[in-house]
């Protein structure tokens, strides 16, 4: 069972930039992103999130987001998608970095979640 990440940000640049930080420590972890609205304005898009799930080659996806409205679009996309997706209310960059590092090191989902616990800062 392989694990991957989907990153959802209100800002296209952040969604594009964060994988550069993560790829350095997790070059084998599939990372897909959804940034901005369908018009590439500040906001999020359920369609882009569905696309990011689809484009991710992993069997199971860990999803991270920046602000609350991104979470709503994420949850809608999860309801409409066939992929198995786990959503974390973790600090966005710190949580994604932690998960990416651990998945690269071969750590399983349970242990990844344990290490994400102290990073849960929103709901």
């Amino acid at each position: 069972m392989s694990l991957g990440l989907t990153l959802v940000s209100h800002v296209p640049e952040i969604a594009n930039g964060l994988p550069k930080l993560l790829n350095q420590v997790a070059k084998d972890v599939p990372i897909t992103t959804a940034g901005g609205t369908n018009d590439n304005d500040i906001g999020t898009s359920m369609e882009k999130i569905m696309q990011a799930f689809d484009n991710n080659s992993a069997d199971e996806i860990l999803a991270f987001y920046d602000l609350g409205s991104a979470k709503m679009n994420l949850e809608m996309a999860m309801e409409m998608s066939d992929k198995k997706v786990h959503l974390y209310d973790a600090a966005f960059i710190e949580g994604a970095y932690t998960a990416a590092s651990l998945i690269q090191a071969g750590v399983g989902l349970d242990d990844v979640e344990k290490q994400l616990k102290p990073l849960i800062v929103k709901d």
Binding site: N38, T44, S45, M46, G68, M72, N73, M76
Partner: protein
């Protein structure tokens, strides 16, 4: 108390008009306690809804689903998934009933599930939870709508962008509550619906 494709269309067109007229005001409400885009978001969304409904939907369920998808795709902000879920839940419910009260009950439950807000959190949930019972009791009035919207003014936001301001969110009407107020006003104005 029956929602049909025709009354739904009239309702949505009236709602779209009211949003367009008040889009600057809604965005101004969103400025001190949010990012100042609520009116523009809703206007973009309702223009897409109007456009979609210009082709008559085959039935009520499809009409409601079309509205939901248009809002989800075009609004952009938090109000997109929230209003979108409201109409999606109405679409689902419409396979077993066309009673507006029951449909709005399903819509409210959808908004609460999607956003996790409870009454008192200074969100559109405050307006919906105050007014859906009035619709069902057959006694919705403009005054009740106004009071439900105004009641959000002194609340401290617990959800959405305004919640980052804590106590400072007090003293401002919640923009999503104001737009929800318009939805109920135009419901009231739709002949033959309530």
């Amino acid at each position: 108390m029956t929602l049909t494709v025709d009354t739904l269309t009239v309702w949505m067109n009236k709602f779209a008009d009211k949003i367009e007229t008040n889009k600057q005001y809604l965005s101004d409400l969103d400025t001190p306690i949010g990012d100042g885009d609520h009116g523009f978001n809703m206007d973009r969304g309702m223009k897409a809804v109007e456009e979609k409904l210009s082709t008559k939907p085959s039935d009520l369920t499809n009409g409601l689903k079309t509205i939901a998808m248009a809002l989800i795709s075009t609004v952009g902000g938090a109000s997109g998934p929230l209003y979108g879920t409201a109409f999606l839940e109405m679409a689902k419910k419409s396979s077993s009933t066309d009673n507006i009260g029951e449909l709005l009950d399903a819509a409210l439950a959808g908004i609460e599930k999607r956003g996790g807000a409870k009454p008192g959190d200074k969100t559109m949930v405050d307006v919906w939870s105050a007014l859906v019972p009035s619709v069902k009791a057959g006694n919705l009035t403009k005054d009740k709508i106004r009071s439900a919207v105004d009641a959000t003014k002194d609340m401290v936001a617990k959800k959405g962008r305004a919640s980052y301001l804590g106590e400072r969110s007090k003293g401002h009407i919640d923009p999503g509550s104001e737009s929800s107020g318009y939805l109920f006003e135009t419901l009231l104005e739709t002949e033959g619906l309530l």
